[in-house]
């Protein structure tokens, strides 16, 4: 039984081993409903592993995780029905048109064909893709393709949306355009968990962040409070202090 007061994501002592390598080491954090939560860390810190466990694509070695009130290990299908995901790699079929990609993803979430057409049209409009419906995805620019991936991740009206490095490889204009779209999605009540190593992105978008390094959560909090606690002026300095790293000379 869950209530709207329960966190959208509850992670407790989450651990994941790949052979002898411990990728995630007892991670514990909560994400409140409607929040934009950033998981920050260097490459190989355990961000993507955490996300893949929450998406039921990996099984944890130890610990528990609940997403939208469902246990990721006990009821993975119920979790998949309630979440959306934009992965780091390609989430669109480059040979299908924008509309075909949308309808394909609707079908994977069991929408009837008529409902799928309606839902696709509803999502393409706010994403600014209404005029691109008949374009083959491979001809889209990086930013437009990313927006399509975001629109595809919303077909099931997810309670929690996971974005894995959503703006990597995009120029600054496309990045800011995508931030606007992410804020728009958040305003509709969707909880968003994003991983990024662009700290200005986390500062601009996230209500709260967790800093993860070598599989362990080093700090969690509101960016402004973390800056005060670590006596830092930017999130970059907080990050370096929390992970024990130093700025390159």
């Amino acid at each position: 039984m869950t209530s709207s007061a329960d966190p959208a994501v509850q992670v407790s002592g989450l651990t994941k081993d790949f052979g002898a390598t411990r990728a995630l080491d007892g991670a514990t954090f909560d994400v409140a409903n409607g929040e934009i939560f950033g998981l920050l860390g260097p490459n190989g810190a355990g961000k993507t592993t955490t996300m893949r466990i929450l998406l039921t694509l990996l099984k944890p070695t130890a610990g528990t995780a609940r997403v939208a009130g469902q246990d990721v290990t006990r009821d993975p299908v119920a979790v998949r029905q309630r979440v959306g995901w934009v992965p780091q790699g390609h989430a669109v079929d480059p040979l299908l048109t924008v509309m075909e990609n949308m309808r394909f993803m609707c079908g994977m979430y069991h929408l009837a064909p008529v409902a799928a057409r309606r839902r696709a049209a509803q999502l393409l409009e706010p994403a600014g893709l209404a005029d691109h419906g008949n374009k083959v995805a491979r001809v889209l620019s990086g930013g437009t393709r990313r927006k399509l991936e975001l629109a595809m991740s919303l077909v099931n009206v997810p309670a929690v949306l996971f974005l894995d490095e959503p703006t990597v490889g995009l120029d600054i204009a496309a990045r800011r355009d995508l931030w606007t779209y992410v804020r728009q999605i958040s305003r509709q009540g969707t909880t968003i968990v994003l991983t990024t190593h662009y700290l200005e992105e986390a500062d601009a978008l996230c209500d709260r962040v967790a800093i993860i390094d070598r599989g362990q959560i080093q700090a969690t909090g509101v960016p402004g409070e973390l800056k005060v606690n670590y006596q830092a002026s930017t999130l970059d300095e907080v990050f370096l202090a929390a992970t024990g790293q130093e700025l390159a000379a």
Partner: protein, 180 residues
């Protein structure tokens, strides 16, 4: 998982394979042209070859159906390797759709595709003078046996696609036409 949901998954997955084929007209042309090349080129090259029944074209028609099915199904796993390498496969796995549908939809697609190729061969051979003693029932049996044979080969190809890491490994495996 309800029957309606299974149907919806198969509908979009099968539709995706067909749409991809439509977007690559050269691939579609090659798939249809290959059986014709078998018949026109080899059928006439070996006209004088002594074979049971005395007619080489009639003798090779059944073999052309089998070889076309064999090649089509053996390389059938390649598309799933593309999906794996691009990250699209893992995106599909994050959806609530059944994992089995990913495999069975590919089976359905390859059965329809190689069945259509087999039919093209049989019709082309008929136009070139080959007559089928077993009639329509024999043609249906030929296509059904082809589908059964193709299913076994597809299973091997998909197993390799899921167990191998990359295209280069697939192309070095016994499933690659280059290894034949």
């Amino acid at each position: 998982m309800t029957a309606t949901n299974l149907w919806r998954e198969h509908r979009v997955l099968f539709g995706r394979w067909l749409a991809r084929l439509r977007r690559e007209p050269l691939t579609m042309l090659a798939l249809l042209a290959q059986p014709m090349v078998w018949l026109v080129l080899f059928g006439h090259l070996f006209t004088k070859m002594p074979v049971p029944g005395g007619n080489y074209l009639r003798f090779m028609t059944a073999g052309a159906v089998v070889m076309t099915t064999f090649n089509g199904c053996l390389t059938g796993g390649v598309e799933l390797l593309f999906d794996r390498e691009s990250g699209f496969l893992v995106r599909m796995l994050a959806a609530p759709a059944s994992r089995v549908s990913l495999v069975t939809s590919r089976f359905m697609y390859l059965t329809v595709l190689t069945g259509a190729q087999g039919l093209v061969i049989l019709v082309a051979a008929w136009m070139m003078g080959v007559r089928y003693a077993a009639g329509i029932g024999g043609i249906a049996a030929c296509l059904a046996i082809g589908a059964l044979f193709g299913s076994g080969i597809t299973a091997l190809s998909l197993a390799l696609a899921f167990s191998l890491r990359s295209h280069s490994q697939f192309s070095r495996s016994p499933a690659s036409p280059a290894c034949h």
